[in-house]
């Protein structure tokens, strides 16, 4: 057992750090930075880190992917880790495991080049945590499926090219045995996307599918195996931004430490207040523990171990640590913490206010902690199913 990275991994991390420092200097954050930045990281091959070489990726293990996400988040790179994370953990991962050769050759290289993004089309108004309640249907007709239904929380059907859609292909059997997964082109006729704004400020589209024709070759894997693929993929999906959350927390923490060492409140430097020291130490401990769990999961992924238990434990720890973290940071910043971005006296550039609002999302997204705790209890600890 050892808790340090290999020389190659350290070099890789340094490469990313140097790149970020060079590209993201003061004054470099112009409106066209995001596009050029994303192009550059795609050129470096950093998007397809864990895609096998024969499909245009780097063929590196999960640890590299996590390092990449961590540093991108730490340096506040103008990428949305989520975009890459969701695409890789859904389309990427499932293609690798269950896709046909044609699908692998079609999608994986494009994912590796950052050319396409794919979101999740599972939830429906009546089906949140319990996806067996979905009603969207996919009826086979010659070499097409005709899809009808309604999906919610399909991020981001407005801008992504693809959605991985869960639909019922057999309504005569119990739900879990009649579900299939499809790779849907979001520009297909019959798809209507209606955006909704969440408290976090993010848009989260609702998608209506009205007799949408999907080529049969866009079925992922086998018909009626979708539920199994979904379950197997859960750990990867839950932890798709593995690394990004730690990077973000580390960055905010370093900023907060600096802030505490420079800011006085009521005549006393924040960093000298015993209570604030306790809170900062707690935050540092949470970050460390989370980081240890995240890298352990990445290590387990490279070894091919089953990830369900570690993913659940890590996810719960992450969400609760993040909520604690955000609460403490807001408290620490006192009255100034309420000020939003770009307001002049806002501490830390007013980022915390937005993050605090977004934090609530963590309590319900990707199956909230309550649901996952029940999974931990029954799956990991062996307690009887809840009533």
């Amino acid at each position: 057992m050892h808790f340090c990275f290999t020389e190659e991994q350290e070099k890789f991390r340094q490469e990313i750090v140097d790149f970020c420092k060079a590209e993201l200097q003061e004054g470099s954050r112009t409106p066209d930075l995001p596009v050029s930045f994303r192009r550059k990281i795609a050129e470096k091959g950093w998007i397809g880190l864990s895609i096998p070489k024969e499909y245009g990726g780097q063929g590196l293990g999960a640890i590299y992917r996590v390092i990449f996400m961590e540093e991108m988040a730490y340096w506040r790179a103008p990428i949305v880790a989520y975009d890459y994370g969701v695409t890789m953990s859904l389309l990427g991962n499932m293609c690798l495991r269950h896709g046909s050769e044609a699908q692998k050759s079609e999608y994986l290289p494009k994912i590796a080049k950052g050319e396409i993004f794919c979101g999740q089309g599972y939830s429906e108004p009546q089906a949140g945590n319990d996806l067996s309640l979905i009603q969207t249907t996919a009826i086979r007709q010659d070499d097409h499926y005709i899809i009808n239904g309604q999906k919610m929380w399909v991020h981001d059907a407005q801008t992504y090219r693809y959605t991985l859609l869960m639909a019922k292909t057999d309504i005569t059997v119990p739900p879990e045995r009649g579900i299939s997964l499809f790779i849907i082109d979001n520009s297909s006729p019959g798809i209507t996307v209606i955006p909704q704004i969440a408290m976090s400020g993010q848009t989260t589209p609702q998608v209506f599918l009205d007799n949408v024709l999907v080529p049969a070759r866009n079925l992922l894997g086998e018909e009626n195996m979708g539920w199994e693929y979904y379950l197997e993929n859960k750990p990867f999906y839950w932890n798709k931004e593995q690394g990004a959350e730690t990077g973000m927390m580390r960055r905010i923490f370093d900023d907060i430490v600096r802030y505490s060492k420079e800011t006085k409140r009521n005549g006393v430097l924040l960093s000298q207040s015993a209570v604030i020291r306790q809170r900062l130490a707690s935050m540092a401990t949470d970050i460390r523990a989370l980081r240890l769990l995240i890298y352990r999961m990445a290590w387990m992924e490279t070894k091919g171990f089953d990830l369900s238990d570690i993913a659940s434990l890590t996810r719960v720890f992450h969400v609760e640590a993040w909520i604690r973290f955000v609460n403490k940071t807001m408290q620490l910043m006192g009255l100034g913490g309420q000020l939003s971005r770009r307001q002049v006296p806002a501490p830390l550039g007013g980022t915390m206010e937005a993050l605090y609002r977004q934090a609530a999302l963590q309590l319900m997204q990707r199956a909230g902690p309550s649901y996952i705790k029940s999974t931990i209890a029954t799956h990991h600890l062996g307690l009887p199913p809840a009533w």
Binding site: M1, H2, F3, R277, Q278, T285, L290, Y295, S374, L381
Partner: protein, 377 residues
């Protein structure tokens, strides 16, 4: 990054678990609370034969030169069963201290004996109003023609009454700088002027008040640097803290296992209580907390083994373990109900041990302040 255990480590853990489940049933734990010595000499001998006492000591002293991580695994197993023994005190607090800071003669004299099970050692540090702060230590060692005279009271000295040697941290000079002016002496228990008073403690363990009255120690029993012993003591405390964390994590895991077992079979309202979501969440929370605690302990242990700076990691591990173990026992009490409260059940033993361990070698607040010092000052 490698989170895997080696084959040897896996064997060590399995052997330890099997051995201890046989040799350390709860009846033995309870008996030791009443027993005058507080540990089983015959079990100690067996542990020596298993090579446990020399696990982390070099082969030149008869040990097997294992890593600190190996030791941590063993300690987890000991914590699981609440083994009452001077193992950690002797090997971690004192054996490794002597290995690191002792001169050749001291190492030769004592380390062999430890490995063979012929010497038990303990550390005398805390005092009535002093826990772990070097600058507050009052027990004095004053030079005279024959050596040094030690006077004063030490408190919470584990197994003092049966220790062959006590490592006593004394004030020999001014604390012109933080931690300065302290010297550690190896006190032979046959020295005159030593008095031991047993302390009645929550965990019913063997902790003593040791009174030093003109205890004469020869100069060659100074351990490490004169007037500058705190540096070594600090490292000793770091090792001892991580060792304690390992025991705490083992204990917490056992309590979780016990609680889950009970929740599966206890039926109320026509269902096993373990099917109630609230209880499921309690158990899940404990599981998450133990994972976090254990991860931090392993990292700290690895860093100690590698000789890397580890002050932050040690404090992170202890702050997590302190809160994890007590909360685990408290939730377990809630879930077990009446049966877990009865003295003939195992839970009270863990409940008391967890609370003791929470504050031993610094509670979570103390360690968070240490983390803050590293980060902010």
């Amino acid at each position: 990054m490698d989170y895997g255990f080696s084959e040897e480590q896996k064997i060590l853990r399995k052997t330890a678990r099997d051995f201890l489940s046989k040799e350390c049933p709860k009846a033995m734990v309870r008996q030791m609370a009443e027993d005058e010595k507080g540990y089983s000499p015959s079990l100690w001998k067996k542990m020596a034969e298993m090579g446990w006492l020399g696990l982390v000591l070099p082969s030149e002293y008869g040990g097997s030169g294992g890593s600190f991580l190996d030791l941590v695994m063993l300690l987890e197993e000991m914590g699981r069963v609440l083994l009452p023994s001077p193992f950690s005190t002797t090997i971690v607090m004192c054996g490794l201290y002597i290995l690191e800071a002792g001169n050749e003669q001291q190492k030769k004299d004592i380390l062999h004996k430890i490995v063979k099970g012929e010497a038990i050692l303990t550390l005398a540090l805390s005092e009535p109003d002093v826990e772990y702060d070097p600058d507050s230590i009052t027990v004095k060692a004053v030079a005279n023609s024959d050596g040094y005279l030690i006077n004063g009271n030490k408190l919470f000295v584990p197994y003092a009454h049966i220790a062959n040697y006590l490592l006593c941290v004394t004030r020999t000079g001014e604390n012109i700088d933080k931690g300065k002016g302290l010297t550690t002496f190896i006190v032979d228990n046959s020295s005159s002027g030593l008095n031991y008073t047993p302390l009645k403690t929550l965990a019913r363990d063997k902790q003593y008040e040791v009174t030093f009255k003109d205890v004469l120690i020869p100069e060659h029993n100074i351990l490490g640097d004169f007037d500058n012993g705190w540096r070594d003591v600090e490292r000793t405390l770091q090792r001892a803290t991580v060792a304690l964390c390992a025991e705490m994590n083992g204990g917490a895991q056992n309590v979780l296992d016990m609680t889950v077992e009970y929740a599966k079979q206890r039926v109320q309202f026509d269902r096993p209580i373990g099917s109630m979501q609230a209880l499921q969440h309690h158990c899940a929370n404990i599981a998450v907390s133990i994972e976090a605690s254990r991860s931090a302990t392993y990292e700290a242990a690895w860093r100690i083994g590698e000789g890397l700076p580890c002050s932050i990691e040690v404090s992170m591990a202890k702050s997590l373990a302190s809160e994890c173990y007590t909360q685990t026992t408290q939730l377990s009490m809630l879930i077990h109900g009446g049966v877990g409260y009865m003295e003939d059940h195992d839970l009270p033993l863990y409940y008391r041990q967890a609370k003791t361990a929470e504050v031993t070698l610094g509670d979570a607040d103390y360690h968070r302040e240490k983390i803050a010092q590293e980060l902010l000052d």
